[in-house]
Symmetry: C2
Amino acid sequence: MDGSVRVRLDLAYDGTDFSGWAKQAHGERTVQGVLEQALAVAVGRADGPAPRLVVAGRTDTGVHAAGQVAHVDLTPEQLAALTRRHDGQGEVDAVARRLTGLLNVDGDVVVHRSSIAPPGFDARFSATHRRYRYRIADRLTARDPVDRRRTMSYPRTLDDELMRAAVAAVTGLHDFAAYCKPRPGGTTIRDLRSLTWARDPSGVLVAEVLADAFCHNMVRALVGASIAVGTGRIAPERMAALLEEPIRSNEFPVAPAYGLTLVEVGYPSDDALADQARRTRALRALP
Amino acid sequence: MDGSVRVRLDLAYDGTDFSGWAKQAHGERTVQGVLEQALAVAVGRADGPAPRLVVAGRTDTGVHAAGQVAHVDLTPEQLAALTRRHDGQGEVDAVARRLTGLLNVDGDVVVHRSSIAPPGFDARFSATHRRYRYRIADRLTARDPVDRRRTMSYPRTLDDELMRAAVAAVTGLHDFAAYCKPRPGGTTIRDLRSLTWARDPSGVLVAEVLADAFCHNMVRALVGASIAVGTGRIAPERMAALLEEPIRSNEFPVAPAYGLTLVEVGYPSDDALADQARRTRALRALP
């Protein structure tokens, strides 16, 4: 849009009561839906098209976010309405407070920060990495009832040494078809930069997973395979061997959504944003 | 009870959907109520009176626990039924798993550990200290939606330096009448061993409060006064000055329950348990 202002939003949500991020046709409650509705209320009758959000990580039903990033393009009139200033020069950081106030009835979405996006910024295409966390309480003493919405309860103790050995062999640039729910026309080649399993002080088994991007269900499939290794149902070497498979594996179930949280989206320095977006738009392919 | 076995239970709960710990006359859902019901189901028709719990910290409606301790006296027949062993020599640590299984429909109570209590142990009277935590998100960026059930949302940033100065002057053995909801016949003299305010890595303002015991509403009153200091509504010195007041102060509101968690109950070494219980039963009095 000519003359429009791109605003970056940093946000967090409890995914329990959402049908994921993406707005849906049938009126399900989604994060995008409630945020765009709050934006529509806040801009009111200001001149411009209905605000639409572009997000870094389209989380599935039940998945949480601690460090989600989105952007929205607004006309100067809309931004002025959002910041309640009439000269179009409102303080953009007031947008976070305004939106969070409008969303606060349920308290399960918070906009942490709002800022004018630097030139070339695109929440989705400029991102250089996404980091997810998966939490498993596999011991009675590690179960914290207040944390149960983001921590998978597993009835047996898992062998985390075997899990560490298995995941060490799957990092790197690979075709993750065995770990992806396919999407038409989409590649399943990803650069899995890091995947670690460790116990936190209370004994919760935590995976930290970092990649340039993830194909659909990839983290939950990698976690599901790790659990199958941790119970002894599949051998540790099997996780790397599956990278040779051209289609999704049925040797392990995908781990449930509620243990998963998007914790961070990474971007390059401001002068590299536009280049990064161009590179991402080109289809990923093995070198 | 002659021949009975005292079992110690270590447990945690999300207080959101409970009307506190203590069983009530009118059928409200309480932690004691659901636990005693699970115990009754588990012991079935085994010979002995209905199991009754004695707890270290009777938490109020909405207050959480990460490290609550209770005890229950069982006949050997009841213990055998609970552990599903018929020789009366069942492994008592199976009780935690059994009870948690029975409670697991809602998942808001977990029994972490069960053990035969050492001689002289009384969950309430043998305890030498209780530690509580209070969490306040007073900045937008500190608000984590998944943690909102145990973190009070405060709309303004609080001056934590003033709060630290104020609470440093209220520790020690005092009559906390200004900070207590009075109970007939109860003393309000307590030994407040430690009260600190600090920010965690995400910016949440956290109080850690340790005392031999707390009178009713005492932590929430100390937190409420701290907040009044943090907003500038009362002077830091006022918190210590209030210790001279013989009745509950109305200069600040008591902080809401949902930010409060009982995190730990402390006991002396096994050989000192009985002595400690005797000392506690004697009325506390200023030396």
